[in-house]
Subunit: 136 residues, 2 copies
DNA sequence: ATAGACCTTCCCATGGTGGTAAGGTCAACG
DNA sequence: CGTTGACCTTACCACCATGGGAAGGTCTAT
């Protein structure tokens, strides 16, 4: 299997497969005589693992840790769970952050006429000139 | 006012002030004879505007647009509102994305003993070997 | 034999931010 | 007046993950 086929079979672009190899996330692929990378079912399986972890928002470093644990048959599931739980916390912090932004923006947009007049509470707030918002 | 003072007065690091100047987000500051950048109240005000916009998650490009509208006394508030509403949608999409990840991870973590045994549904799922999750 | 679809490596760009190094300037203190 | 230390200047490098493209080699089908 060439890198292109491995890419479409795994969902990881050829570009990224080479990148993951270059940073040591995955082992260098075998090569043909003409220097083409060769992949088999096991490699694609591994690439899919990587793909899923990345899709779940794990960083490449976290993915490397998960990969190591995956391949370590004697690992404790607690280690994996710890990574996952940490990651959940990080994601939730980010969500809370974004929600704060949305809340503020929605408030501002709600107070903004959005018409042709230049009167704009959104800009006023950004400029730090908060004005009475008509009691809302 | 030197750049350091402007930085602490505005909450934008000196580094970022120079960067914003270099990409044209803000106008080049005046200079003293010895080539130091000089800032006044108006510049700090503007930097604070930028800071707030960035804190609300607007990209530098969006911030530039908002800045332009802010300084255009005859602008229509509808233009600003459009940027804000767009941005709200983008943020909400990102939140939904992250929430999907959290949901999946929580489910997996819930099904994972997190003990010393190597049995780990999290890794199984990442590997694509979904197994019965005890009916949960 | 030739075309076209693939592969290889190498470099560049993104977006914001931080670091750091080498050098200039300024204020205060002795 | 000289030194010290805190500031400023520019110019790079790094991050993280990904995409783009160029220049050149290889394989397959016609």
């Amino acid at each position: 299997m060439n890198i292109g086929e491995a890419a479409s079979a795994s969902g990881v672009s050829a570009k990224m497969i080479r990148y993951y190899e270059s940073i040591g996330l995955i082992r260098p692929a075998q090569r043909t005589g003409s220097n083409y990378r060769v992949y088999g079912g096991a490699e694609v399986h591994l690439l899919r693992f990587v793909k899923r972890a990345r899709t779940l928002g794990f960083s490449v470093d976290e993915t490397a840790a998960l990969l190591g644990l995956w391949q370590d048959k004697g690992r404790a599931s607690g280690e994996v769970k710890a990574i996952a739980v940490n990651h959940i916390a990080a994601l939730e912090a980010k969500i809370a952050d974004l929600e704060g932004m949305v809340r503020t923006l929605k408030h501002l947009a709600h107070c903004c006429g959005g018409d042709d007049r230049p009167d704009c509470p959104i800009l006023d707030e950004l400029a730090g000139e908060a004005r009475a918002t008509k009691g809302h």
